[in-house]
C-alpha cells in the first residue's frame, strides 16, 4: 500500500493553528497533525471526536468490580464457606478492599490496552523518520493527502505566503509505506512451544533442585531405615517398664487366675457417688447398651435383632453378686464374646462404668 503524503512543518504551535485554519478554509484534507507535545485545542480545530478511553475505563472497571464481588461471594458462601470468628460467610464489608483493587486494576489495564490497540502502538513499530519529518523535538507537522494539479500549486502559494508572514514553514513530500511487523508475531508461538515443551511428564521426578535445605529435614524420618543397622527402624522400642503418660498400670494378667485374683484384691479407686455413676452411665450408653441393654437385662438392639447371642443379664445369678474387680477385669480384657475395651476406655472411665454397673446390680 503506497500513499503519497505531504508534510508542512511549523516551528511553533500558534503558527500551526494559523496554518490549519488556512488549509481548512481552502478545502485541503488534513490527514493528521503531529506535535511534540499535546497542543490544547488542536483536537477541536481538526475536528477529532472525543476519545472513548473513559468509556472503556468505566466498562472495564465495572467488570473488575463485579468479578471481585461475585468471586469473593462465591468462594465464601458456596465454594469454601469457612467460619472466621463467628462472622457471617457473606461478609460484604471485608470484600470491599479487594473489589476496589480489582476495579482499579481492570480499568487501568483495559484502558492502556485499548489505547495501544486503537492507536496501533506496539513494541518495535516502524516509525520511519527518514521519510517523515521528526515530530518529537520542536517541529509541528501537518500531514496532507498530496493534492493533484492546480491544488498543488495553490498549496505552494499558500505556504509561500505563510513563509513571509510566519517563521518559515517548510514543505516536505514523502511516501509512506504501512506494513505490519511480522517478526514479533512469529516469536509468540515460538515462545509458547518452548514454554510447553519444557514440561516433563514424570511427576515422580522433582526435576533439578537447588538449595533444597528447607524442603528436606536434616533429622532422620521416624519410620525410615536405621543407617547404622539396616534391619532396624529409626523408631526405637521404649525401655522395659516404661509406661505412657497418665497411664495407670493394671497388674493382673489376662488369665483365669488373674480374673479370680482381681475379684479378690482390686479396689475401685473412685468412691461411689452420683456424678461418677452419671458419667459411667453415659459411657455405658456409648459402648455397652447395644448388647447389654439400657439396664443390663441383655436386651440390647444387637441381641434383639439376633446379630449377637445374649450376654448374661446383670440380674442373673452369676452376675448379681459379681465383685467390682471381676467387672473391671472383664471390661479391660473382654470376656467370652465380649471384646476388650481397654483401648476405648481409660482406667478412670472403666472405674466409672464399674460403678454404674454395680448400681444396676443393686437395682435389679
Amino acid at each position: 500500500m503506497t500513499n503519497k503524503y505531504l508534510h508542512i512543518v511549523f516551528r511553533d504551535e500558534e503558527n500551526l493553528f494559523e496554518g490549519i485554519d488556512l488549509l481548512r478554509a481552502n478545502d485541503f484534507s488534513i490527514v493528521d497533525v503531529m506535535t511534540p507535545f499535546p497542543v490544547h485545542g488542536l483536537d477541536h480545530k481538526i475536528g477529532l471526536k472525543p476519545s472513548l478511553i473513559p468509556t472503556v475505563g468505566f466498562i472495564c472497571g465495572a467488570i473488575g468490580a463485579l468479578t471481585g464481588f461475585f468471586f469473593q461471594s462465591w468462594v465464601f458462601t458456596s465454594s469454601w464457606p469457612m467460619n472466621f470468628g463467628g462472622k457471617p460467610f457473606f461478609a460484604f464489608p471485608s470484600f470491599i478492599p479487594v473489589i476496589f483493587e480489582m476495579t482499579v486494576l481492570f480499568s487501568a489495564l483495559g484502558m492502556v490496552l485499548a489505547f495501544l490497540y486503537r492507536s496501533k502502538l506496539y513494541p518495535h513499530k516502524e516509525c520511519s523518520t527518514e521519510k517523515v519529518p521528526i515530530t518529537t523535538d520542536d517541529q509541528f507537522v501537518i500531514k496532507l493527502m498530496k493534492p493533484e494539479g492546480e491544488k498543488l500549486t495553490l498549496l505552494q502559494k499558500l505556504v509561500n505566503e505563510l513563509k513571509v508572514k510566519l517563521d518559515n514553514p517548510e514543505i516536505a513530500i514523502s511516501e509512506k509505506l504501512t506494513f505490519f511487523n511480522n517478526k514479533i508475531v512469529a516469536l509468540v508461538p515460538l515462545a509458547f512451544i518452548l514454554c510447553f515443551s519444557s514440561c516433563k511428564n514424570n511427576k515422580e521426578q522433582p526435576g533439578y533442585e537447588y538449595m533444597p535445605d528447607m524442603v528436606y529435614s536434616r533429622s532422620f524420618e521416624y519410620y525410615s531405615a536405621n543407617p547404622l543397622d539396616k534391619s532396624k527402624s529409626m523408631a526405637k522400642v521404649p525401655p522395659v517398664g516404661s509406661i505412657p503418660r497418665s497411664f495407670t498400670p493394671y497388674p493382673y494378667p489376662n488369665t483365669k487366675d488373674g480374673y479370680e485374683q482381681a475379684g479378690k484384691e482390686w479396689i475401685n479407686p473412685l468412691s461411689s457417688n452420683d456424678i461418677y455413676i452419671d458419667e459411667g452411665k453415659k459411657l455405658f450408653e456409648l459402648y455397652c447398651v447395644y448388647c447389654h441393654g439400657q439396664k443390663g437385662e441383655a436386651n440390647g438392639i444387637l441381641v434383639e435383632k439376633q446379630k449377637f447371642p445374649p450376654p448374661p443379664s446383670f440380674s442373673s445369678d452369676i452376675l448379681k453378686e459379681l465383685p467390682a474387680g471381676k467387672i473391671f477385669h472383664s471390661i479391660t480384657y473382654g470376656k467370652n464374646l465380649m471384646g476388650p475395651h481397654a483401648s476405648m476406655l481409660s482406667y478412670q472411665e472403666r472405674c466409672k462404668v464399674v460403678l454404674f454397673v454395680q448400681s444396676l446390680q443393686k437395682k435389679l
Partner: protein, 455 residues
C-alpha cells in the same frame, strides 16, 4: 494564552526554546556519564550485591538467621516493607493527585518520582515475600484454582488485601509511568546516534509519532489513570495500616491508623524525592528545570504532611490517656520510657521537631538545609514504623514472654541491599531514560516559563 500573575516565579528558568529543552534533558543520555556516576553506581551495586547474598543466605538457611523470635515475629522485615511502600507514595502523589489539582510544577519532578515509586515498590514487595520463609510457595497468596480443595485465600484478612493492593499498585504505577514515558522515548529514538540505541528506543517507544489523535487519547488516558491512582494510593497505605489496626495488639488497634499512615507515607516519600532530586539536579545540571521554587513547593507539602503526622502522634498519646485503658496507657509509657525509648525519641525529633524548621522561608529555599532535613525525615519515618511494630510486639500480653529484639547482620544486610538496589536502579534510570517529562515540560513552557518575557 492563559495569563499568569507577573509575580509568580517561573517554573523553568533561563529562556529556553523547545529544542533546548530536548537537548538539555536528553544530554545525559546522549553523552558519556562522568567519573562520579561510575563511582557512585559501583558503590551502590556492591551494596546491592551484598544484600542479595544476604537474601540467598536467608533462603539457604531459613528465617532462623534473622533476629526474630516467638514474641517479636515482625521486625526489620515489615518495618522496611512499610517504609519502602510509604516512599513509593510520593511518586503517585506527585504524578496523580497533583495532576488532578493542575499543579504545573509537578512536570519537572513527576517522571523521576514515578520511577522512584516503582523501584520503592519493588524493594517493599521483597520483604513480605522473603519473610514467608518458603519463598518458592509465595504464589499461595493468590486465589487460583488448585488441587487443595480448591482451598481459597481468606478474603477477610487485611494481609490478603495487602497482596491485592500492593500488586495492583505496582502494576498501575508501572503502566502510568510507562504510558507517560512513551512520547519521551520517541524523542530519544529520534535523537540518539548509535544504531543499537536507536533500535532499543524504537522498541520501547512503540512507534510514537505525536499524532493528534494519539495525543488526545494519551491525555485522556493519563488523566483517568491519575483519577484511578489517587484513591488507589490512599487505599494502599490504608490497607497496610489495617495489617496492624485490625489486630488486637495494644498500640496497633486504633482507628487513627489509615489517615496517619497515608500522610506519613507522603511525608517520607517527599523527603526521598527531595533527596534524589537535589542530587540529580546537581549532577545532571537540571537547575533550570528543578528550581528553588520546586524545592520550596515540595517543602510545603512536607510541612503539611509532617504536621499531620505529628498531630497523629500527639492524638495517640492523648487517646491513650483519655481512653482510661491501662494497657493502652502502658504501651505509650513503654514507648517513651521503655527499652526502645531511644527509637521513640529519634522518631519524635526527626518527624515532629526537625521538619518544623520549614516554616522559615529561608530554610525552605535553602538546598543544603532541605537536603539535610530530608535525610532526617527519611530516618525518622523508618523509626516510626520500627517503633510501632517492635515496641508493641516486644511487650505484648504475658510479661513472661517479653523480650528485646535485635536484628542480625543478615537483616541489616538485606535492608542495605534494598537501598543499594534502589539507588542503582535510579542511577540507571537517569542514564537511560529522560529524568524530566520532556513533552509535559514543553507543554507548560509558554505559560509558566520565562518565554513570555522574551517578547
Amino acid at each position: 494564552m492563559t495569563h499568569e500573575s507577573p509575580h509568580r516565579e517561573p517554573l523553568i528558568s533561563g529562556r529556553k526554546t523547545y529544542r533546548q529543552i530536548t537537548q538539555d534533558i536528553c544530554s545525559p543520555i546522549l553523552g558519556k556519564p562522568g567519573k562520579l556516576w561510575y563511582i557512585v553506581i559501583s558503590v551502590t551495586t556492591l551494596v546491592f550485591l551484598y544484600g542479595l547474598s544476604m537474601i540467598i543466605y536467608t533462603l539457604w538457611k531459613g528465617i532462623g538467621v534473622w533476629g526474630l523470635n516467638k514474641t517479636v515475629g515482625w521486625g526489620w522485615d515489615i518495618t522496611n516493607f512499610v517504609w519502602w511502600i510509604g516512599i513509593g507514595h510520593a511518586g503517585t502523589f506527585i504524578s496523580a493527585i497533583l495532576l488532578l489539582f493542575r499543579q504545573k510544577w509537578r512536570t519537572s519532578v513527576n517522571r523521576a518520582a514515578e520511577a522512584m515509586t516503582i523501584f520503592a515498590v519493588i524493594c517493599a514487595g521483597l520483604f513480605p515475600v522473603i519473610h514467608m520463609g518458603r519463598v518458592w510457595l509465595c504464589f499461595y497468596v493468590f486465589p487460583y484454582p488448585n488441587i487443595r480443595g480448591p482451598l481459597w485465600v481468606n478474603f477477610n484478612s487485611p494481609l490478603l488485601w495487602d497482596v491485592f493492593a500492593i500488586s495492583t499498585y505496582f502494576l498501575v504505577s508501572l503502566l502510568f509511568w510507562y504510558v507517560g514515558l512513551i512520547p519521551d522515548l520517541g524523542t530519544l529514538r529520534d535523537k540518539v546516534a548509535s544504531p543499537l540505541k536507536r533500535k532499543v528506543y524504537s522498541w520501547l517507544s512503540f512507534g510514537w509519532n505525536g499524532s493528534a489523535k494519539h495525543w488526545e487519547r494519551h491525555e485522556s488516558l493519563c488523566l483517568i489513570l491519575a483519577g484511578l491512582a489517587t484513591p488507589l494510593v490512599l487505599s494502599v497505605h490504608s490497607i497496610v495500616s489495617m495489617d496492624f489496626a485490625t489486630s488486637v495488639i495494644p498500640g496497633w488497634h486504633t482507628t487513627i491508623f489509615p489517615p496517619y499512615f497515608v500522610s506519613g507515607a507522603v511525608f517520607s516519600g517527599f523527603a526521598m524525592v527531595l533527596t534524589l532530586m537535589i542530587i540529580t539536579r546537581k549532577l545532571m545540571n537540571l537547575k533550570d528545570y528543578i528550581t528553588i521554587g520546586h524545592i520550596e513547593a515540595m517543602n510545603k507539602v512536607i510541612i503539611l504532611t509532617g504536621s499531620i503526622v505529628g498531630m497523629a502522634y500527639l492524638t495517640e498519646l492523648f487517646m491513650a490517656w483519655y481512653s482510661g485503658v491501662q494497657y493502652e496507657q502502658y504501651v505509650f509509657m513503654n514507648r517513651m520510657q521503655g527499652p526502645y525509648a531511644w527509637a521513640y525519641w529519634t522518631m519524635m525529633t526527626c518527624n515532629l521537631g526537625v521538619p518544623q524548621l520549614f516554616w522559615f522561608k529561608k530554610i525552605r529555599r535553602n538546598v543544603i538545609a532541605t537536603f539535610i532535613i530530608a535525610i532526617f525525615i527519611n530516618i525518622g519515618m523508618w523509626f516510626e514504623r520500627f517503633v510501632i511494630i517492635v515496641t508493641s510486639l516486644s511487650r505484648d500480653y504475658l510479661p513472661s514472654s517479653w523480650t528485646y529484639y535485635k536484628p542480625t547482620f543478615v537483616e541489616v544486610g538485606i535492608f542495605l541491599g534494598t537501598l543499594g538496589f534502589f539507588f542503582t536502579a535510579f542511577l540507571l534510570f537517569t542514564r537511560f531514560f529522560p529524568v524530566i517529562a520532556i513533552s509535559e515540560i514543553k507543554n507548560i513552557m509558554k505559560s509558566s516559563g520565562e518565554y513570555e518575557n522574551r517578547k
